[in-house]
Amino acid sequence: MYTEFSQLPIEKRQDIEKHWWKKIHRMDLLYLCYGITIVSLVVISYFLGAFNLLPFDPEEMDLDNMMVGIGAEGHILGTDFMGRDLLSRMILGIQAYFLPGLLAIVIALSFGSFLGVLSGFYGGRIDTGVTYFNNLVDSFPRLVLILLVVAAFKPDIYYIMIIVGLTNAPVVAALIKNKIQFLKQKNFIESSIAMGLPTHLIIFKHILWYNCRSILIIQATLGMGEAILMETSLSYLGFGVQEPTPSWGNMVQAGSNYLMQGNFWPSTAPALAIMFTILGFYLLGDALNHILEGRKS
């Protein structure tokens, strides 16, 4: 039966905290390793890009060697439609997502938790208002809303990510609200209040940290994936990250112009990068979720 971690006897808690790794499922360990590898690759790439430690200058053009294949002229992954080194641009491309993607996640999680706690904890009119807001955001296809904003203002990755963040907030809010209602049902919150705990402690420590962290982690990893895919779709429509700044999305788009002629690599390489990265985030989220919650098997 369900027992709160914080309500377990102290010895058992210490036991779990000491030996938590023993309980990890083999599969989760695998996922975790893969996820951590991907995340560290992303972070390494970010710093490689930030300190300009790249095999080639990513903006150096070579009009005699446009669209060359793998390994030609020392270009490990070949070149793009301007004769620029694909690998260097792929490494640099992570810059387009790293900080903006984090921003999207932070907005989604903080704003979503805020709304969720408001409506779950206080209920009543506030809940009605929050529900209306959530329904409103849900009524827009995200891509349409983003397309509208970038077409109306300017194609800026931060505009895109702010909207991705805002539109993801309702999902987080709904999950947290449900969790709080569930805890309320179990009189968990009432007893905490009766114990004289201050409200902020209940909300931040007992609700968000002890009970909602797996929700937050899953949503964070999903959010990163969505941010990358959204930018890719916008790149196809012409409104993603703009040249000469590389992003995986605009690289897939530029490469896909040659895909029908059988030149797969220039679009497939960044597409695979997108796939493996998002997969990494998903699996990391899953593994952390299972580890924190305890896998039911």
């Binding site: 409103l136 296809p141 509208l148 890719t232 998903y282």
Partner: protein, 349 residues
């Protein structure tokens, strides 16, 4: 039927959760519920909510358009334009200049059932949006079906038999196909279709002379179903729901008695989650439809939205935003109704 019997303490009974969702805490409403069919209440509530939401949607879209630099009238005067010419055009089209003036004009017109005409083509927005919406609806419904066909076996297999060696690979497969860029997948799909099957998969109006027309609709539907990015979430959600239901007492009882758990688990474990996930994923599919419609020349809302956003074709953008919101609300309404139908207990409360 005794409704209090199964209200265990580990989960919300459908009645309770319905009451939560509908916000039916007040005694007056509860009392009324004894007399009015909950279905009717639900429909009325949903419709009122939908109206309020449509109002909100129009306000948001309008604000974005109004705050945007540039104006939609310059489109008509390519090249030669001046401030006064723009005024003239705006006047002749019957637009007032102030924020409030424009919005209230639009609102009054729409209350008369008039969505206006496209600035670009001069055609009726209503007619165009309706025909585009129907085309998009066809695409998205079929694509959802594809998504469910992929997601169900994976979800059921992995949640019922949780410790098989296929479990991991299946989950990863669901994740992988959700992580592929949609238009790249569409290009690959076309490449494979043309080069491997020697078949050109776009057919609307092209009148390719053979009987494979159904194929022309299959590829876009498949691509959107696979690549909309929702498979992994659908699998995750279904898994959660199925394993939750499998732990229910009445399922356990049924299992212990040797009865088929499927008959018991179907409604709770499959039907409800399905309608819920479908209704909540409509916006995603509509978003993905923009890409698929561009690639496959599908004459739907997505293509229209892209064109209109580029032209700042103000009445068309409004029309599409409203149509999309209506689809989302419809999805939600259908889900609520299925909820009540599946839980006849709700009508006895």
């Amino acid at each position: 039927m005794n409704t209090h019997q199964q209200t265990g303490d580990t989960w919300l009974s459908p009645v309770q959760s319905l009451a939560h969702k509908l916000n039916l805490d007040s005694p007056w409403v509860k009392h009324k519920l004894d007399f009015v069919m909950p279905m009717g209440v639900t429909i009325i509530r949903e419709l009122l909510l939908a109206l309020a939401l449509l109002f909100g949607v129009s306000l948001v879209v309008f604000t974005i358009l109004y705050a945007a630099p540039g104006d939609s009238f310059s489109l008509l005067l390519s090249g030669e334009r001046s401030a006064s010419a723009t005024e003239e055009v705006a006047q002749s089209l019957g637009f007032s200049n102030s924020w409030f003036g424009q919005y209230s004009t639009w609102l009054i017109n729409i209350l008369h059932g008039d969505l206006g005409t496209s600035i670009r083509t001069g055609q009726s927005v209503f007619e165009n949006v309706v025909s585009a919406t129907i085309n998009t609806l066809n695409l998205t419904l079929a694509a959802m079906l594809v998504t469910l066909i992929i997601a169900y076996p994976i979800a059921i297999y992995t949640s019922v038999r949780s410790a098989t060696p296929l479990n991991g690979p299946l989950t990863i497969f669901a994740y992988v196909i959700s992580a592929l860029p949609l238009f790249w997948l569409a290009y690959i799909g076309i490449f494979v279709s043309t080069n491997v099957f020697d078949y050109f998969p776009l057919g609307i109006g092209l009148g390719v002379e053979d009987d494979m027309e159904i194929m022309q609709f299959l590829l876009p539907v498949l691509i959107l179903g696979i690549g909309s990015g929702t498979v992994s979430e659908v699998v995750r959600f279904l898994k959660l729901e199925i394993s939750r239901v499998l732990e229910e007492e009445y399922i356990r009882t049924a299992k212990a008695k040797g009865a088929s758990i499927w008959r018991h688990g179907f409604k709770e474990g499959l039907l409800l989650p399905t309608s819920q996930i479908i209704s909540s994923k409509i916006p995603f599919f509509l978003g993905g439809a923009i890409i698929v419609e561009q690639v496959f020349n599908w004459p739907g809302m997505g293509r229209m939205a892209w064109q209109a956003a580029q032209d700042r074709d103000f009445p068309v953008i409004m029309g599409i935003a409203l149509a999309a919101a209506i689809l989302v609300r419809l999805g939600s309404l259908v889900h609520r109704m299925i909820y009540i139908i599946v839980n006849p207990r709700a009508s006895h409360e």
